[in-house]
Every structure is written in structure tokens, then in C-alpha cells.
């Protein structure tokens, strides 16, 4: 985990994660990401190569075209960002998705 100063002056934390989900960041996985960040008041962005997505936006996330094996950078800004990134890392690092 690394910590950077964001333009607003707050702490931006980031993590690198290798996407292991067998189908990549497809619609169901995106909706799971949206749900995970839904209760968080801060901001979370996910970068994949040169693309960057607001993790609360289905449309943004789908446009990452993140295939299995992609390296993702998770960035969180705001109180409670660390456990959110932890949850995201855990989800994105598993090969088989929960069927809930």
C-alpha cells in the first residue's frame, strides 16, 4: 500500500492488484465493485493501463476492458478508504466469483 498527497490535500492510498477473476471485469463483477464502494463516502478510482474509472460507476468500470491478468491500481481517498481497498483487492484477486 502506498500513500500519496491528493490535490485536495487529503491522503490518497493506492494498491496494485492483479485481476484474477476468470471472466475479467465483466458486468456482474462491476456491479459487485459498485456495491462494495457504495457505502463509502470518499472516492475510489480503478486504473487499468491508461484507462481510469470511478469505481461507483458501472459505465466507467465496464470501459476499463479489464481482462484476466490485468494489473489494476486501486486508489482511495477519504476516511475508511483502507478497508474498502482491502475488500476490493480480496474480491478482484479471486479466480472464482461468489454466486450471490
Amino acid at each position: 500500500m502506498s500513500s500519496l498527497a491528493s490535490p485536495s490535500g487529503s491522503n490518497l492510498i493506492s494498491r496494485r492488484v492483479q485481476l484474477k477473476l476468470a471472466q475479467g471485469l465483466h458486468i456482474r463483477a462491476c456491479s459487485r465493485v459498485v456495491a462494495l464502494v457504495g457505502a463509502f463516502n470518499g472516492r475510489v478510482r480503478i486504473r487499468c493501463g491508461e484507462r481510469s474509472a470511478d469505481a461507483s460507476s458501472m459505465f466507467d468500470l465496464i470501459q476499463l476492458v479489464a481482462v484476466p491478468g490485468s494489473e489494476l491500481i486501486l486508489e482511495g481517498d477519504g476516511d475508511g478508504a483502507e478497508p474498502i481497498l482491502e475488500s476490493l483487492e480480496q474480491f478482484l484477486s479471486q479466480k472464482n466469483e461468489p454466486q450471490d
Binding site: 475479467g24 456482474r28 462491476c30 456491479s31 465496464i62 476499463l64
Partner: protein
């Protein structure tokens, strides 16, 4: 990837009337079959697979859009059809709103990248408010097709 590369023009349903999302999906798959894009023998399996996928979570992704989909071995490449439901359809969407624009996708099972690029192409254009609004108003296959072509040309 361009919309007109994988959307089957003849299978577009510009005035879909359906009582349920299941009925809408059945009509869209039927339209692909009716235009020779999928075999009659595969039709039921494809409908069942799309409905099973919907049970895992709605593909109504917000902004009045749904992208029901499946992967099926009969697909050599990604194919899609578009339906416009002018009256709105309850699709159990993530945002709770009715759906007016449906893109149904069938992809080969072994190429997740193609599937993701198809989804990216669709959502990239549907983020454009004008495109979304004009598509919702389209009432003929040609009107839908013209909009898809315009979208492709504006992003080449």
C-alpha cells in the same frame, strides 16, 4: 470495435413490446434466429443461458439500458441485436429504473476479451446523452441503424 460490426441490423427490434424481461429476451433471441444468425436448435439453450445469467444479477446497468448476454459455443464471433422498448420495461435494474434500450450479446465462450470489448463499445456510446436520447426515440430499424453508424463514425 464498432457497433455495426457486431449488431445484426435485420434483427433489430425498434418497437419492442414485452410484458417481462424474460419475454423481451425471448423475442430478441428469436429475432436473431429468424434472421439466420443462430440455429433453431440452439435457441432454447441460449434463452435459458441468458435467463440463468439474469438470475445471478440483472444486466440492467442504469441509464435505461440493459445488456442481457451469454457465451455460447455456436457463436464464432460476438453478435448482438438491439431492441427499443418505448413503454419501458421492468428489468430489475441496478438503479431501479425501467429499461428502454436493450443490447443482447452472444459471445464465443473462450474469448472474454471480445466480450468485454463489446460491452465497452456499447457503454462508451450510451454514456453520450444525445446518443441515448435519440436511440430511445428511434422507431424504425433504419433509424436505429443510422444512429449506430453515426456513433461509430464519431469515435473512429
Amino acid at each position: 470495435m464498432r457497433l455495426t460490426e457486431f449488431v445484426v441490423k435485420e434483427a433489430v427490434l425498434p418497437q419492442l413490446v414485452a410484458e417481462s424481461k424474460q419475454a423481451a429476451i425471448r423475442q430478441m433471441v428469436g429475432s436473431l434466429k429468424g434472421n439466420g444468425k443462430i440455429r433453431e436448435a440452439d435457441e432454447e439453450a441460449i434463452v435459458a443461458a441468458i435467463l440463468k445469467r439474469e438470475e445471478l444479477g440483472s444486466t440492467g446497468i442504469g441509464r435505461g439500458v440493459a445488456v442481457p448476454h451469454t457465451k455460447h459455443p455456436s457463436a464464432d464471433s460476438i453478435i448482438s441485436t438491439v431492441a427499443i422498448c418505448h413503454g419501458g420495461l421492468d428489468f430489475e435494474s441496478l438503479d431501479g429504473e425501467d429499461v428502454y434500450i436493450l443490447f443482447l450479446l452472444i459471445s464465443p465462450p473462450d474469448r472474454p476479451g471480445d466480450h468485454l470489448r463489446g460491452l465497452e463499445t456499447i457503454t462508451r456510446h450510451l454514456k453520450n446523452d444525445d446518443f441515448c436520447s435519440f436511440l430511445r426515440q428511434a422507431k424504425t430499424t433504419q433509424a436505429v441503424w443510422d444512429l449506430l453508424q453515426e456513433a461509430d463514425e464519431s469515435h473512429v
